[in-house]
Each structure stands twice: as C-alpha cells, then as structure tokens.
C-alpha cells in the first residue's frame, strides 16, 4: 500500500504530537492506522523522536530503586515464559486433534468389565482428591521457590562481585549500644557494584526499611534500601553504587528510614564504617 508524498508529509507533522501524547483519540487512531501501512518516513521520524525524548530522562538524578523491587519483579516473572517471536512459534496447533472415535457395535460385556469401570471411577475420584490437596500446597511451594530464586540471584551476584580483579571492603560496626550488629560492604571499583552483608540487624518496624548510604566528599548518597526478613539474622544484598568515582569513598552507613527510602538520611544510624 503506497501513500502519496504530500500525505506522507502531512502525517509527518503528527509525529511530534504523537510522541508527546497530544493527539486526540481519533487522530491517534488515524495516525496509528497510517503507521500500520508501513510508512518508512514516519517510522524513521518516530524512531528519532523517541531516541531524542528518551534523553530527557537522563537529566534526572539517577537513583537505584529499593532492592525489594527487583525481588518482587523476579517473583512476578518466575511463573511466566517470554513470548516467542511469531516467526519462531512452532506450528503445532493442528497436531492437537483427537483420534477419531470408531463406532462400536456394542458387543455383550462380561460383569467384570463393569466392575473394573466402577473401580476405575473410584480411583479417578481418589486421584482428584489427592491432586486437590497437592494444589493447595503448591501455592506455598511456588512462593518458596520464588524466594529461593531471589536468594540464588543474590548469591550469584555476590559470587560475580567476588570474581572481580579488585575488590575493596569496609567493615560496618553497630552504633546502637548493647547490640551485636555488624556488617561489611564490598565493592568492585571497576563495575561499581557493591555487596552489603549485615548480621544481627532486627527486623525493621512496620512502615520502615533499612537504607544504605555512601559518604563521599562529605555528602551522603543513597545506595538503596533493604529489608530484614524476620527469622533471618544475615542479609546479603547486591546494589549498584550511585557514584562516579569510587576513589573518593569515605564511608558507609545504614539507617532506618520510612518505607521506600529517603533522599537524605533522616532516621537513626544503625551501622557505620569509614576509611581512616
């Protein structure tokens, strides 16, 4: 399907309002119908505009999301499979047909045939009950699997960091009197990945989260938030470091902040450690 040159030009004018979401529903539908015709000019124009406008978000101050988001994400995808591109989808639907049923002449059947049918039905009923019970436990098993996958992910990331050519470390000590809390931060200066290990931190109160901070040039930057799961005394959390140059790192601290974290420390410091 070809489009006249003048018409293409007119549609090109709609690319900017389309990208900025300013077309009314009618015009948007019309423009999308035009795109579906495969107009190369508009495709190139849109692609360029998307690239350009995407740069605007690079101007925002970058901030790592709380670590729980990644765990929830991994939990959400654990039961999903990526869709395959159309060209690679196996053509298997036609294979699903049932075998044709041949008409029977209903010969006389002995009594034991009926008895075996009854026993068979009873077995199926018993099987259904068993499967139902099994399904009940599968839900909690799925949750457990999702948690284990998250933990495995963390361990894999930890191992990945430890394999780095150079790893730096700072110990964190408790600043709360009478507690046995401690921790350490390891980081790969080349990739700016960090690994936080903590021990004996109590589970955070409702509506709160622990937050790791990096101190550099007398300023504190959020590295990310993490949770203490009740019943576990140790945590291992991988986080990207939010600083450009790791040579100026002066220390780390952990505070208790409102859920989701704060832009600057507001809560009580729990752990702290610095370079001498």
């Amino acid at each position: 399907m070809t489009v006249k040159a003048e018409e293409r030009h007119a549609q090109l004018e709609l690319c900017i309002p389309y990208v900025f979401g300013r077309l009314n529903p009618g015009n948007r539908k019309q423009f999308e119908a035009h795109l579906a015709t495969g107009c190369e000019q508009c495709r190139v124009e849109l692609s360029g505009l998307y690239e350009a406008t995407a740069l605007l978000s690079l101007l925002l101050r970058q901030e790592a999301p709380p670590s729980g988001v990644r765990q929830r994400l991994l939990g959400r995808i654990s039961s999903k499979r990526p869709e395959q591109p159309r060209s690679e989808r196996p053509q298997q639907q036609q294979q699903q047909r049932e075998k044709p049923v041949t008409p029977s002449l209903r010969p006389e059947r002995p009594w034991y045939l009926y008895a075996s049918i009854v026993i068979g039905i009873l077995l199926i009923v018993a099987l259904i009950i068993f499967v139902n019970q099994l399904v009940g436990t599968t839900g909690s098993q799925d949750k457990k699997i999702s948690e284990l996958q998250s933990e495995l992910q963390q361990v894999q990331e930890a191992l990945g960091l430890l394999q780095a050519e150079r790893v730096e470390m700072l110990s964190l000590a408790s600043v709360v009197p009478g507690t046995a809390m401690y921790g350490k931060v390891l980081w790969d200066p080349a990739k700016r990945n960090a690994l936080l290990q903590t021990s004996n931190l109590p589970a955070q109160p409702a509506g709160k989260q622990y937050q790791l901070w990096i101190l550099k040039e007398k300023k504190q930057y959020s590295v990310g938030v993490f949770d203490m799961v009740s019943g576990k005394s140790n945590t291992l959390t991988a986080m990207p470091l939010p600083v450009g140059d790791t040579t100026g790192i002066e220390g780390f601290s952990v505070t208790l902040e409102p859920k989701g974290g704060s832009s600057q420390p507001t809560g009580a410091v729990q752990l702290s450690g610095g370079k001498k």
């Binding site: 900025f20 495709r43 692609s47 406008t53 740069l55 995808i77 869709e83 550099k216």
Partner: protein, 199 residues
C-alpha cells in the same frame, strides 16, 4: 570526545540487543543485568512522572515484566533498547496519570499534575555523581547548554506532564506560535544529541 561518547552508546546498544536475545530464551540473569543498567534511570523517571515512589516501583516492575514477556517483539525499528524502555515506561505512567486525573476530576472537578519548577538545572549538577550511563549522561548535560531555559522547561512540561501547547501558552502567558517554535527547536537540539552523526 563526542566520537568516544557515540562509540560508548553504540557499545551499550550492542550489549542491550544481546541481553534482549537472552531474555527471549528466558534468561533471568539477562533481565537482571538490563534492570541494573536502566532501573536507576527509569525509577526517578517514574517518580518524576507520577510524583509517587510507590507507584514508580510498580511502574518499574510493569516495564520489566513487559520486557520479559515481549522481548521478542522488540526490533531495530523500535530504536535503541533504552528508548524502547523509556517509551514503555512513559506510556504506562501516562495511563496511570490519566486514570488518576479521571478519578480526581470525578471528585473535585479537574487539576493537573504540576509539580513546581524545572528540576533539571539542579539535577544536572547531581547527575555527575552517577556512573551508570555516565558517558551518555555527560553528553546530554553538555548538550543542555545549547537549550535555552524556556526550551527545556517546555519540553519537560510537555513530556512529563502531558501539557498541550495551548495549555502551555495559557499557563506561561506566551504566544502559541512562540511555544511551538521553541519546542520544535528544543526537540531539534535533542535530536542532534541523540544522533549526532545524522546532522
């Protein structure tokens, strides 16, 4: 200098495309790598658009669940993977903003999403503390010098808050023609940064 930034961006594009191929094969580590690379950009983007950290967290998950499910639908015609992700994130954010606005209109009869003045200027300085996408971020920051304050402000209001040009003209008391010209010029400048080799 510009050449090295462009090379760096091309390197990112190649790595991203490889990650997407692995995601199509259900490789969770590839999704994690893509997440590590872009979540620190997309998360504040979501916060900026919706004004809520909690909503931005959900938004971020939605974006990467979409990537997980639809990685196969990504093609070179979508532009770079980063542009594709931003596009998904913005579309999802706009859906939420529209539904929030509809609810709000139902309750109090209208209201925008305006959240004060331009944040870019103060954030430009803060951006230098970030390493992810550092080369590209610096390149963008430098390009800002060619954008006037008004051009940048108009782009932000339009991009993040979905303000129409006539709304902007009314709000800022600037003739509509000037708004259109400034925005077009701002976009043109951004495009030169996005594809310097094109000009």
């Amino acid at each position: 200098m510009q050449q090295s930034a462009t090379n760096q961006r091309q390197q990112y594009d190649r790595e991203d495309a490889e990650l997407l191929k692995r995601i199509q094969r259900a490789d969770q580590r590839a999704l994690s790598s893509l997440y590590d690379r872009y979540a620190p950009v997309l998360y504040p983007f979501g916060v900026r658009m919706t004004g809520s950290r909690e909503v931005a967290e959900d938004l971020l998950q939605d974006v990467f669940v979409h990537v997980w499910e639809k990685a196969g639908s990504y093609g070179q015609h979508n532009g770079s993977v980063y542009a594709w992700l931003t596009c998904i994130c913005r579309a999802r954010a706009m859906e939420r903003i529209r539904s929030t606005n509809q609810k709000r209109r139902g309750n109090e009869g209208g209201g925008g999403m305006s959240r004060g003045s331009s944040e870019s200027e103060q954030n430009i300085a803060a951006a230098e503390t970030i390493m992810t996408l550092k080369g590209i971020t610096e390149e963008v920051r430098n390009s800002l010098k060619s954008l006037s304050k008004l051009e940048l402000r108009l782009l932000e209001l339009s991009y993040y808050e979905g303000q129409s040009q006539s709304d902007l003209a009314r709000m800022l008391r600037i003739p509509l023609g000037t708004i259109k010209a400034k925005m077009r010029r701002g976009i043109q400048k951004l495009r030169q940064v996005a594809a310097p080799e094109a000009k």
